[in-house]
């Protein structure tokens, strides 16, 4: 917008006319110590907790520690510009970030500023980063599925819109791959995604952005990046920023998914900030309020009541464990906060089972309420069959004298495990998942060699799309798989195996 010199002159005149009448009152302090992204400020007696502070050179900070004589603040920006004796002012505002659909497709830092080289973010709205989660009266039960496109998850530990589902496991075994598949699977569903990278390498974030772009998922995604090279203060703020961006959609009756990758590094950043602020260290040197840090963040994920627009914000926090130890401080905290966890296991990953999800330790506390009825019908026995298989598989390798029932369980379990394997960045629509899982749980795979199962899925799904589009269409639209549909599906599987699928039949146990 161009402003004419006349407008500037008249605005100046108005301002100068009002000069004698209005005074700006501010609460000020003086920097007495600065370093590591933290400043100790004398004065500022009226500063509020979480209030935004104004340092010289346009640098901002956030008041965290309110003490008798001093205020401890994190500096959100270049702290090297701040020196002792600099004047600091309160602003009367809490930290805000831009929100809205203008951010979709963009990569921003923890303050909502563009870091993708596509120019500044031009969002019309902004909102505070620290907010109280919606209360009981504003919420509603989670009963709609958020399809991840991953068979093992959608069948056995379904995630509902508005749920908090933790993804936990050691490093480099596919935790981020699970959430990327989920984000990719939201194409065309109207679910807006926010991926928040905390303390990661710049290269890893660049790779995530490239992957999302390559699979056409960046258009409905905001990437909030606070990498390992950013100050700890920005890493601490980043998930709250991402959550606020997601809440914008939730509060307008839309659906959003926010991924925090990962909260272990977030806790590290918060520990660093707290120790430099000289807060008393507790267990593993984390401050006493590290539980509240994550609980208040994850409580903001919610399904709002219909009277509030019925919007949802689903949260997928990630926790990285060390040597598969789930009993350390931060993992136990986040496990207790969330509505279930997906446990990704190194042994399974190394054994070629990918995604390396352990169905025994993984759980979704929302359960079948977040599944379409068709999936509930076919996947009901899946978890039980797999749990029984895992229990007896360990014994089975020591002897061959097994009774028929045990051998059947083993054969079924091996085939179901094989069926749940899935390639990366290849999410499957839910109606096709139903068809494949039906083939497994109804015994349709029992006469196939294990080596043929992956190929069976690859060839059966296109066959089904071509020959029985109405069957897939009816599962998609009605969400049901009635007796007639089950019979039709069984016939289709039998026909495919008999007439189309080239394989050497194996005798069923």
């Amino acid at each position: 917008m161009a402003i004419s010199p006349e407008e500037i002159a008249s605005a100046l005149r108005r301002e100068i006319d009002g000069f004698q009448r209005v005074a700006e009152r501010a609460n000020v302090g003086t920097v007495i110590e600065v370093g590591d992204g933290i400043a100790q400020i004398a004065g500022l007696s009226q500063a509020m907790a979480g209030e935004l502070l104004e340092f010289p050179d346009g640098v901002t900070g956030m008041a965290l520690n309110l003490e008798e004589d001093t205020v401890g603040a994190v500096i959100l920006g270049d702290y090297l510009k701040i020196q002792e004796q600099h004047e600091v002012r309160t602003t009367g505002r809490v930290a805000q970030v831009p929100v809205g659909p203008e951010l979709l497709g963009r990569v921003v830092n923890a303050l909502g500023q563009s870091v993708d080289g596509k120019g500044p973010v031009t969002a019309a709205a902004s909102d505070v980063i620290e907010k109280v989660a919606p209360g009981v009266a504003l919420r509603q039960d989670v009963d709609t599925a958020l399809q991840t496109g991953i068979k093992a998850i959608d069948a056995m530990m379904p995630i509902g819109r508005g749920q908090r589902e933790l993804i936990i496991g050691d490093r480099q075994i596919g935790k981020t791959a699970v959430v990327l598949d989920t984000i990719i699977n939201q194409r065309g569903t109207g679910v807006k995604c926010i991926y928040c990278a905390i303390g990661q390498k710049e290269a890893a974030v660049a790779q995530v952005v490239a992957t999302l772009h390559e699979h056409g998922a960046l258009e409905h995604t905001i990437v909030v990046s606070a990498t390992a090279s950013d100050p700890a203060a920005l890493q601490y703020v980043a998930p709250f920023t991402a959550c606020t961006m997601g809440e914008y959609f939730r509060d307008r009756g839309e659906h959003a998914l926010v991924v925090y990758d990962d909260l272990t590094k977030h806790a590290w950043a918060y520990r660093q900030v707290s120790l430099i602020l000289r807060r008393p260290p507790g267990r593993e040197a984390y401050p006493g309020d590290v539980f509240y840090l994550h609980s208040r963040l994850l409580e903001r994920a919610a399904r709002l009541h219909e009277s509030q627009g019925g919007g949802t914000l689903t949260a997928l926090p990630i926790i990285e464990t060390q040597a598969a130890d789930l009993s350390t401080y931060i993992p136990t905290n986040v496990i207790s906060i969330t509505d279930g966890q997906i446990y990704v296991e190194t042994d399974r990953f190394n054994a070629g089972i990918r995604p390396a999800i352990n169905p025994g330790l993984s759980v979704s506390r929302v359960g079948g309420a977040a599944q379409i009825r068709a999936m509930r019908t076919v996947a009901g026995r899946l978890r039980l069959d797999l749990a029984q298989y895992n229990a007896i598989a360990a014994f089975a390798q020591f002897g061959s004298d097994l009774d028929l029932a045990t051998r059947r369980q083993l054969a079924r379990g091996q085939r179901l495990s094989e069926m749940l394997k899935q390639g990366q960045f290849g999410p499957i629509p839910v109606e096709e998942q139903v068809a494949v899982i039906f083939a497994g749980t109804s015994g349709g795979l029992d006469t196939l060699a294990i080596a043929d199962i992956a190929r069976f899925e690859q060839e059966f799904l296109p066959y089904l799309r071509d020959t029985h589009p109405e069957l897939l269409g009816s599962i998609r639209t009605t969400g049901r798989l009635d007796d007639a549909a089950q019979a039709a599906l069984s016939t289709a599987i039998a026909d495919f195996k008999a007439n189309v699928f080239q394989h050497r039949p194996v005798e069923a146990v």
């Binding site: 500037i8 009226q46 003490e67 002012r89």
Partner: protein
């Protein structure tokens, strides 16, 4: 030595309580304040603090060096405080002790310090008028004036950690924000 917040505050309070008690006895508030100001300036530098707390040199030799550098600016009371600080390795607390002492001393003397900043020097009449306007009954007002051309025009009045900004600079800043 870097200490935790609570421990640091406790030590600062102990020094200030002793100093306030002494100042109440001898009434030399301003002299103590001046001594603390010199101590703060002396100990601001990390290397100087390291020298002051260097155990290989006899303590009296270190104090004599300080007395020589500070000259008449540092009274015997100030040297005594410095001796205790060196013994307890508390020289890093000097700035905080000064700040807390000044506040406690002001409260004890019912003294208000107000600083007025203007772009050009204020006339004597203007200073008197401000003095009359800003004084609170029952309290002593200590008005200091500062000239800073960056305020462009008008006045900036600071009392404690509250600032009333009547300057043209603040108006221009507000205008710039409004036009952005």
């Amino acid at each position: 030595m870097r200490r935790g917040g609570a421990q640091r505050r406790r030590r600062v309070r102990a020094y200030v309580a002793a100093l306030v008690a002494q100042a109440q006895r001898d009434g030399a508030w301003d002299a103590w304040e001046a001594d603390l100001r010199v101590l703060r300036a002396l100990t601001q530098d990390r290397d100087t603090r390291a020298f002051l707390e260097y155990p290989a040199l006899p303590r009296d030799q270190r104090l004599q060096a300080v007395a020589r550098v500070a000259g008449p600016g540092l009274g015997p009371g100030g040297l005594g405080i410095l001796r205790i600080m060196i013994e307890r390795r508390d020289t890093a607390l000097a700035a905080e002790i000064e700040r807390v002492f000044v506040r406690a001393a002001d409260e004890a003397r019912r003294l208000d310090r107000i600083q007025v900043t203007s772009a050009t020097p204020l006339s004597e009449a203007a200073v008197h008028a401000l003095d009359a306007q800003l004084a609170t009954p029952g309290r002593v007002l200590r008005l200091t004036t500062v000239v800073d051309p960056r305020v462009v025009g008008g006045l900036v009045i600071r009392s404690g950690d509250t600032v009333w900004d009547f300057s043209v600079r603040a108006r221009l800043h507000a205008l710039a924000t409004a036009l952005r």
